[in-house]
Every structure is written in C-alpha cells, then in structure tokens.
C-alpha cells in the first residue's frame, strides 16, 4: 500500500525543514546583521534584531585598516590553484580506478580516504619543518600544494564515483569505432563526465576557500588568504564584534554567491549515484 501524504503532514514537514534551514543559516545571518551595527549595538543586551541604526562604518574601517583585495586575491589563487592542480592529478587517477581497476583499487581508495581521518594537527609539525626547509612558509605555492593534498582524496573519490556511472561499453564502442585513447577521452568520456567534473570543481573550491587550519598556520602576511583576514579581527577581549562581522561577511560573500548560483549543480554532484 502506498503511503499517503496528507496535507497536514506535508505542512509539518515543510515547517520543520524551514526551521532547520533557518537554524543552520542563523549564524551567517547574525554575522551579516552584526556587521551593520555599531560596536556598542553589537554587544547590546538584549540583542538587537532589525531595529538598530544601520551603518556601513565597520566596512569602511576594515577597508581602511587592511588590504581586503590582497587577501581576496590570495584566496582566489590558493583555492583555484589547488583545485585545478588536484583535478589534473585526480582525473587520470580516478579514470584508471574506474575503468582499469586492479585487485587493490578498493584498498587504495579506502586508504586515501583514511588520511582524512587523521587530525591535521598531527602532521603540522613535520609539514611545518618541511616548509621551512623548502622555503615554502608564507608562500602561495606552498599553500596551494598543501590544500591540494588534503582535498585530493575527496576529489579522487568524487570523480571515481562519477566515472563509475559511465558504462564501459560506451568507451568500448568508441574503441571499436576507431577512436584512439586520446579521442576516446576527449570526445566521449569528458563530455559525459562534465557534470561530475564541474561539481567536483565547485565543491573543492568551497572546501579550499574555507580551509582555516593550514592557511592560518602556514602563512603570516604575504600569502595570507581571507581566513587569515577574518582571524586578524578576532581579539581575545571580544571588543570588535561588529568589525569582525564585517570582515567575515566580506570573506564569505564571494563563496556564498558562488554557492548560491551553483547549488543545483552541487546537490546533484553530492547525491549522484545515490538514487538510480
């Protein structure tokens, strides 16, 4: 018997979904609201919701005190660079795992994923020393490499899942039709895998953009991305909530906009293969 969905049930579900959604979104909303308050209003008790004197002063101060564009540029280079580099390495890797698997392919995939279970701080010291030795501390190249490495398992896994969905017979058909390996990849596989490659790219940019542990520990000034920009406004005394919020809003705005426009693609990417 099919389960009937009553209107009442539907309403309750919808309300619950909205409540959970708002709960998750609330910290971001609060950050954005606080960024338009004065420092005094920001710490007002009871908290002020919409009825306060809206001001852009915090943004002006933040702009004046630090070079937002430089942080933004570093973020773009590091997030974009690590993603492109990661894809260059992961596409052939996922390719071979999906289409020419060996007995150990599953083990290798699990092992790659298991590296994500290690607390990052566990390898901070060795990596820090390596960075000093190689002169990579506070460089964009160094950060790009580290972020690429920490996200590589996820990129490989995602692409692997995508490629697995492409029937091998189609590639064999291309081979029978006279396509060389290069032509098979270029004309058949890549066009078929483009949605997967695009969602992987988007997700990885978001992960790299938001990454704070390595970016904060391995940079000082030159290569510092937006995460460091936010951190520079947090003070132990907690006196500058409004400015911190303005900095945070400026840091998350680009990725929020990117996420908004690509949400359809992202959801599809993350749930791909879950439902046939």
């Amino acid at each position: 018997m099919a389960r009937s969905v009553t209107t009442r049930r539907k309403t309750i579900n919808t309300l619950a979904a909205w409540a959970i959604g708002l709960l998750i979104f609330f910290p971001i909303l609060w950050t954005i609201l606080t960024s338009f308050k004065t420092e005094a209003q920001a710490i007002n008790d009871p908290p002020l919701f919409f009825f306060f004197d809206w001001t852009l002063e915090n943004y002006a101060v933040v702009q004046e005190r630090s070079n937002y564009m430089r942080y933004l540029w570093n973020s773009v280079i590091i997030a974009g660079g690590s993603t492109v580099l990661g894809l260059i390495i992961a596409v052939p890797a996922a390719w071979s795992m999906a289409f020419v698997p060996s007995k150990r392919t599953k083990d290798i995939l699990m092992w790659m994923l298991s590296t994500k279970m290690l607390p990052a701080v566990g390898v901070l010291y060795p990596i820090y020393l390596v960075f000093i030795e190689l002169g990579l501390l506070d460089t964009r190249v160094g950060l790009t490499i580290v972020l690429m490495l920490i996200n590589l398992p996820i990129i490989v896994w995602m692409l692997y899942t995508y490629f697995k969905e492409i029937p091998g017979e189609i590639l064999e058909a291309a081979r029978m039709d006279g396509a060389t390996l290069k032509e098979e990849i270029l004309y058949i596989l890549t066009p078929m895998a483009i949605p997967g490659i695009a969602s992987t790219l988007l997700l990885n940019i978001i992960l790299a953009w938001n990454e704070a542990f390595w970016t904060l520990n391995l940079t000082a000034a030159k290569a510092a991305p937006l995460t460091a920009f936010i951190a520079s406004y947090s003070s132990p005394e907690g006196l500058f909530y409004a400015k911190l919020s303005a900095a945070s809003t400026m840091a998350i705005a680009p990725i929020l906009i990117l996420g908004w426009f690509s949400q359809k693609q992202l959801v599809r990417g993350l749930t791909f293969g879950a439902v046939k």
């Binding site: 029937p167 189609i170 058909a173 291309a174 039709d177 006279g178 060389t180």
Partner: protein
C-alpha cells in the same frame, strides 16, 4: 573481405581459464552464430575477436593478417552491443558519423554516408534526436547504422536483441538477416537464444564452458547433434532423453527423441503415460506426459488441435528413424 581464423586461442582471467585452446575458421560473408548457455564464454570469444580482451595465447588472423596484437580500433571490425552503447551526448547523426569522423572523412562525405545508412534503417526522421529520445528498436538501429557506415570487414553482434520485447525481436531478427543478404559481409552473432541461432545462421557454433561442442549448419545440428548437450540445446521444445530399459533396447546409454517425432494414440503405442499438462497453441499442441520409468515428463508436439486433457492415459510412439542414440560419454552413436 572478412575471413577470420582463430588458432589455439586461450583466455584466462587470473587462474581461471574461460577459453581452453580453441580453433575456429569463419569464412568471408558467413553469418556465424555463437550460441550457448550464459557463462559459456561466447561473449568472451567475441570480445577476443574484437580485440576488447587480450588473448592469453594463440593467434587471431583477419583476412590472413595476424591481428592478435592489433588494437580494436585498427582491426576493421564493427560491433553492436547489447546495451546499444550509443553516445548519449551526441545526436543520432553524430553517433552514426562518429566512426567516419575518427577515420578522418570530410564533412560532406560523412553526411552522404550517414544519410544513406539512415535511409536503409528508416532513421532519416530521427537524425537530429538524441539517443535518449528514441525507442529501444530505434536505438538498436542507430547502433547498427554506426556499424554499417564503417564498411567493416565483419560485424560483431553481442546479444543485440535481448533488450527488446518479443514482437520487436522478431522484426529486428528479420532486418538483420536481410541486412546480411544485402551487404554480404561476415557477421558474427552471439546469443543464448537457440531460436535466433537456428533462424539466422549459416553456421552455428555451440559452446559450453569455453569448449566448442559442435560447428555446423542449423539443420546439421538439428539432425545429427554430436552429443547430448547439443541435442538438448538445439530445438524447441527440448529433446526428450530416456535411459535404462528405454535405451538399452536401442543399444545405447541414452536415447533422445524430439517432441515433434513422437506420435500419440489413445489406444496403442510403444510407451504408455498420463497427460500432465496440455498446452494449446492453435497451430500445435504440446503435451507433457508422465511415463513410468522416465524422470521428466515426456514432451510431445502434435500439430493442430489434440483433445487430450489432464489425467488422460495415452500411448506414445517415437519415429524409429528419428531416434538419437548416445553412449555413456554422451557422444552420438552413428
């Protein structure tokens, strides 16, 4: 030209040998069907010929040239897959033109060939559609179109009709047979359906566990099966087998009689039995008769309508000329 010779071909996956040493000669223009139960190695054999699998040992030659190490793209063969394997992101036109594009033909020539193939296959109205917008039969035709335009030395079909419904399957079977008569190109066709094998083939290759049980024309296989396996596999409904007292009378370990070679009578005959199930097809009646001493019910095919019902006692008589005798190895006794 499309003469294919397999010499002592073997294939192993890990420690498992799926094709023991095997020899086969396929003549130019022949329609050869590989038939056998699932897992008998017929698809593997086809893939070895295609080059999609590497042989473990042995030699494959196409038109006299050693092709064992030649990649699939260079063997000059075309393949039609069970799943059709169309390129979903390309229109029908682009799908059919793909092999021509890979061969480096210019656009005008591609279009000419695609359009002529499309008109042969009734696809002209669908050229701008994507495979996703076509029915199963149309998709299969696109796959065939993609194979035709290459003008291959031979066509390889891997169970091409098994995803189609029964009515369409009969139509496509005819279309492929007609295509073979028009093109006169070698075709190798893999199926587990012995009816397809019987109706289409010039030559049937019956396989079991990677071993060729028999090679011959459909009627050779029907009339003189080399062993019990071939006898039981070819023909529908299946041949009846009898042992013990039934066979010793004929000086054999086992005898086999096809359902169409047994006559029925309400009064007298050689064997006596009780009707279990009767199937009335109009043109024929199939009777499943329980005979004492025989494990499985004996299948009898009578033409026209026969009025026996469940529980009736009847008498069966095999046509003495049509009894197949097998020894204790299951081999035919001449």
């Amino acid at each position: 030209m499309g003469q294919i010779t397999l010499k002592q071909i073997t294939k192993s996956f890990g420690d498992v040998q799926v094709i023991p040493p095997l020899d086969l000669q396929i003549e130019d223009g022949e329609f050869v069907v590989f038939v056998g139960p699932s897992g008998c190695g017929k698809s593997t054999l086809l893939r070895l010929i295609a080059g999609l699998e590497d042989t473990s040992s042995g030699e494959i030659s196409i038109d006299g040239r050693d092709a064992t190490e030649v990649p699939p793209a260079k063997r000059g063969l075309a393949m039609v897959f069970q799943s059709y394997a169309l390129y979903p992101h390309m229109s029908v036109r682009k799908n059919i033109a793909f092999p021509l594009r890979m061969a480096g033909l210019d656009k005008a020539e591609q279009d000419k060939k695609v359009e002529s193939a499309a008109s042969v296959l009734n696809l002209t109205d669908y050229l701008e559609r994507r495979p996703g917008q076509l029915s199963g039969g149309q998709r299969q035709r696109v796959a065939i179109g993609r194979a035709i335009v290459r003008e291959p030395a031979a066509f390889l079909f891997d169970e091409p009709l098994s995803n189609l419904d029964a009515a369409l399957r009969v139509n496509m079977r005819l279309e492929i047979s007609e295509l073979h008569q028009t093109l006169e190109t070698t075709m190798i066709y893999v199926t587990h359906d012995q009816v397809e094998a019987m109706t289409m083939a010039d030559k049937i290759v019956v396989l079991q566990a990677g071993i060729i049980e028999q090679v011959g024309s459909p009627l050779e296989l029907y009339h003189t099966p080399r062993n019990r396996f071939v006898a039981g596999f070819i023909g529908s409904p299946k041949m009846n087998f009898m042992m013990g007292a039934f066979s010793s009378e004929y000086d054999a370990t086992t005898i086999g009689v096809r359902p169409e070679h047994i006559s029925v009578s309400p009064t007298d005959g050689k064997w006596k039995g009780k009707v279990g199930v009767s199937e009335h097809l109009g043109s024929d009646t199939f009777l499943y008769v329980d005979v004492e001493g025989i494990e499985d019910p004996v299948t009898v095919r009578s033409s026209g309508e026969v009025s026996f019902r469940h529980g009736d006692m009847i008498h069966l008589t095999p046509d003495p000329e049509k009894i197949h005798r097998f020894d204790n190895q299951g081999l035919r006794i001449a």
